[in-house]
């Protein structure tokens, strides 16, 4: 009886425990979905505290977005006449439509946040140095694409919130010198937000950008392995390595999983300290990934149950809501635009250029160039907040904090006519029709 119960328990809990290291490796390399993981993974890279698993969280959010997004595509109609009402149908009569839409919305917001935090993590641990600079650039491209994906999705409900957030966003883009007007024209398919803008945003949102993210994501992951795994296990970051003297990583070769004969693919070795601290990817890494996925999935569901995605009145180009706000992740830019707009007498100098183009443009350029400008010692790579990188980490902390504060001000404290209100103060109620 006891044996039966224990068998039943094992059957329910389905414990996978490979008998040998070979069996464990085979489980990884012979599986289409897992073959891009290494067969073994260093313990330092495996811990929660080093990477916070932000990359994995972002990837799972993307997965949730793809699945819910494809399901939503069966019901959404990208036309200015029908878009809003098809969302109403999704909300009220499509089976589980409300939860799909809420989950899609929440996962999108979270993905923007998590991808940004992932970038901060990589910076704070110096994991973008030397040969990892290429992957840093890919990561930056993925961050910008995530923002653009979210922004294009923002327009699709075709309600007042969508219409005016995109109006604010594209008007900021217009401030770019020389290319601004043209860029906005190409993006909107005209000079005003209408049917052609909606269909362009739709195609970008459901085909072009997700495909690009998928390709870049694949490259991003492949590149992590090619660069020798996570920076924390870099030979340069081991305490034994002296400053300035990097032990060359021993090259390691793999067979190409039997696809072609020979051993041509060279990969930087990730485990200078021997195999004793490494764990098998199967089942340890896989189990953690399942845990991360379940946690992310549950979080999006719980958030969807607590708070639904907003849907305001149908888009009305002749009626500007007061206040009109950009999506939250652009609110720090809108805040900069608003406060850098100077009025001297009758002369108004638009802040659109400073807040909308100069500041974000500079930040992106600095982020692109930073791996090549950074002179901090290489042995700091793979450690959180090392002393030698105090200054640059501190500066980024302050920058991130400023962005956060500006976003919160824009989100919670800007009322009608862009006036400042305390979060506990009530905005004047707009008058109603009846």
């Amino acid at each position: 009886m006891r044996a039966r119960l224990s068998r039943l328990w094992r059957w329910i809990t389905w414990t996978w425990s490979p008998a040998s290291e070979r069996e464990s490796s085979s489980a990884i390399v012979e599986n289409l979905w897992l073959h891009w993981f290494p067969a073994k993974i260093a313990e330092e890279a495996f811990t929660w505290r080093y990477s916070l698993w932000l990359g994995a969280i972002a990837a799972f959010l993307f997965l949730i977005l793809v699945v819910t997004g494809v399901l939503l595509m069966f019901f959404y109609v990208p036309s200015t006449q029908s878009a809003y009402w098809s969302i109403k149908d999704i909300e009220y009569v499509v089976g589980f439509g409300w939860v799909l839409r809420n989950q899609h919305r929440w996962a999108a917001h979270l993905m923007v946040l998590v991808v940004f935090l992932h970038m901060l993590r990589v910076f704070f641990t110096g994991a973008y140095r030397a040969h990892r600079a290429a992957n840093w650039l890919v990561g930056l491209a993925l961050l910008l694409m995530t923002l653009f994906l979210s922004f294009t999705g923002y327009l699709l409900p075709w309600d007042q919130l969508a219409f005016w957030a995109v109006t604010v966003g594209t008007n900021i883009a217009k401030e770019a010198p020389i290319v601004g007007e043209g860029l906005r024209f190409v993006l909107l398919g005209g000079t005003e937000i209408g049917q052609s803008a909606l269909v362009r945003f739709y195609v970008l949102h459901v085909v072009v950008l997700p495909a690009a993210v998928l390709v870049l994501f694949a490259y991003h992951m492949w590149r992590v392995r090619r660069d020798g795994g996570m920076a924390v296990v870099d030979p340069a970051s081991t305490p034994a390595a002296e400053p300035g003297r990097v032990t060359p990583a021993p090259a390691k070769t793999y067979s190409l999983f039997g696809v072609t004969p020979g051993t041509t693919l060279e990969v930087r070795a990730a485990r200078p300290r021997g195999d004793d601290t490494a764990v098998s990817s199967s089942p340890h890494l896989v189990r953690r990934l399942i845990f991360v996925f379940l946690a992310v999935f549950t979080l999006t569901i719980v958030l969807s149950l607590i708070s639904g995605a907003p849907l305001e009145e149908p888009a009305n180009p002749t009626l500007t809501p007061n206040p009109a706000k950009a999506p939250w992740y652009f609110l720090w830019l809108q805040e900069l635009v608003a406060v850098t707009t100077l009025r001297v007498g009758n002369l108004t100098v638009s802040g659109g250029f400073i807040g909308g183009i100069l500041v974000p443009g500079l930040l992106v350029v600095i982020a692109v160039l930073w791996p090549f400008l950074d002179r901090s010692p290489l042995h700091t790579v793979g450690r959180w907040f090392p002393r030698e990188r105090r200054l640059q980490n501190g500066v980024l902390c302050v920058l991130a904090l400023i962005i956060l504060v500006l976003v919160l001000i824009g989100l919670l404290m800007r009322g009608p006519y862009w006036q400042l209100y305390w979060p506990w103060q009530h905005w004047p109620e707009p008058p109603q029709r009846l």
């Binding site: 290291e21 313990e43 495996f46 939860v99 340890h284 719980v302 969807s304 009846l434």
Partner: protein, 414 residues
């Protein structure tokens, strides 16, 4: 191989996460499968069984019901809860309000449910399936259900409030059976010759705002600082009709001293004039009698300049009260007579009495009644002028004694 990570230390977090996600999915399924409308129909089924109507109970639908009106761009799912709206399930007496059928009203024959649905007359959000959203008393829905509670705010009955929706289709009717308040408003609108100044459906004057789509006015553009009561467009219109100058300072619109009912009727008329494109088969045949051709104001002439200080004050009042919308001083008649030389035709005493209450003077004098016939029976509105205003205007008029056109009095010149 000796790593402690080989111990299954992720077991409890993993168990917790899987349990949590299972619970989350179950909660989602529960929310999905226990919608409000299903509970309501269940209550109805039980109720019918309790009264022995087993056959009727079996016909209570178990899924979402809707009236789809592609021609009106509407879908009304109200009948998912109000399942017995057409008495097709039960004709028992004393059903709970939710399950009662729609009362048999005379105009229902011409407005069948499958063609008109619910929200076209009642307002509300036909797409929605929960009570709060469906009744439209939520944020971001501008067309709430027209309830007794809502009507009470304005001292109206629900039927009176709903006349507003009748008139979105019936706006071109001269009068429509059953819409007493709107009919009264239309009569006032004709009698007071509002189209002398206001544009309407491509005709009318240009001196005041075009009223064709007055119902689409954005309430955020209205000034509520002097409005008492609810901050709504309907209330603004009511208060504005009762006393234009109190709501909009220096408004040129005459104060017609309308009663409360008249003001409410006109306000409902204004809100009914919305830009809604009904397909032709929904519109009633036009039953409006051809309107008599009336003079309309296409240009508001500036009155000629004055010299004496009191006369200058008079000119200010003359413009401020919109007298120049109807009267010119030299240059011929407009809506009202040319006022050049008026002080030679009438003495100060007469002018003062006239300016204080024109309607009373007309009522006393058959001659004036005959004369005003030339001006389309338009009687000058009482502008509630003060004694000082009257003195100033008379002083201003005295500066133009002759019937001759004054050089500065041509339309459009200052």
């Amino acid at each position: 191989m000796n790593s402690r990570l080989r111990e299954n230390r992720d077991f409890w977090p993993l168990l917790l996460a899987s349990t949590a996600s299972l619970v989350a999915v179950l909660v989602v399924a529960y929310v999905e499968y226990t919608p409000e409308w299903r509970q309501r129909t269940e209550v109805f089924r039980t109720y019918l069984k309790g009264r022995g109507a087993y056959a009727a109970a079996a016909t209570v639908p178990t899924d979402v019901q809707q009236i789809w009106l592609p021609a009106l761009d509407r879908v009304d799912r109200c009948i998912s809860c109000h399942v017995n709206y057409d008495a097709s399930i039960s004709t028992l007496d004393d059903l709970p309000p939710l399950y009662r059928s729609h009362p048999e009203l005379p105009y229902l024959a011409k407005h069948p449910f499958p063609t008109f649905g619910c929200t076209a007359c009642h307002g509300g959000q036909g797409y929605a399936l929960d009570e709060a959203s469906a009744h439209g008393h939520v944020e971001h829905w501008d067309e709430p259900l027209l309830t007794t509670a809502l009507a009470d705010q304005y001292g109206l009955t629900r039927q009176q409030l709903m006349e507003m929706r009748c008139n979105t289709c019936h706006r071109r009717d001269d009068s429509t059976a059953g819409t007493d308040l709107i009919n009264m408003a239309k009569e006032i609108f004709d009698k007071k010759h509002c189209t002398s100044c206001h544009g309407l459906l491509g005709a009318g004057g240009l001196a005041a705002s075009d009223l064709t789509y007055a119902g689409d006015l954005n309430p955020e553009y209205l000034d509520f600082s002097n409005v008492e009561g609810p901050r709504t467009e309907l209330n603004w219109q009511i208060q504005h009709f009762k006393s234009p100058q109190q709501i909009v300072t220096r408004s040129g619109m005459p104060n017609y001293r309308l009663s409360n009912d008249q003001a409410k009727a006109l306000a409902l008329l204004m809100l009914s004039w919305q830009r809604i494109n009904y397909p032709p088969q929904y519109l009633p045949a036009p039953r409006k009698r051809p309107a008599s051709v009336l003079p309309v104001v296409r240009d508001v002439p500036y009155p000629p300049p004055a010299t004496a200080p009191l006369a200058q004050q008079g000119r200010y009042v003359f413009m401020n009260r919109g007298c120049n919308s109807c009267h010119r001083v030299g240059g011929g008649n407009l809506i009202g007579p040319d006022l050049a030389g008026v002080t030679q035709r009438r003495n100060d005493q007469w002018l003062t009495t006239w300016l204080k209450d024109p309607a009373a003077v007309v009522a006393r004098s058959p001659d004036l009644q005959a004369w005003s016939h030339e001006f389309g029976d338009i009687v000058m509105p009482n502008q509630n002028l003060t004694d000082d205003d009257v003195k100033a205007i008379v002083a201003y008029m005295k500066e133009f004694p002759s019937d001759q056109a004054t050089p500065g009095a041509r339309p459009g010149t200052n």
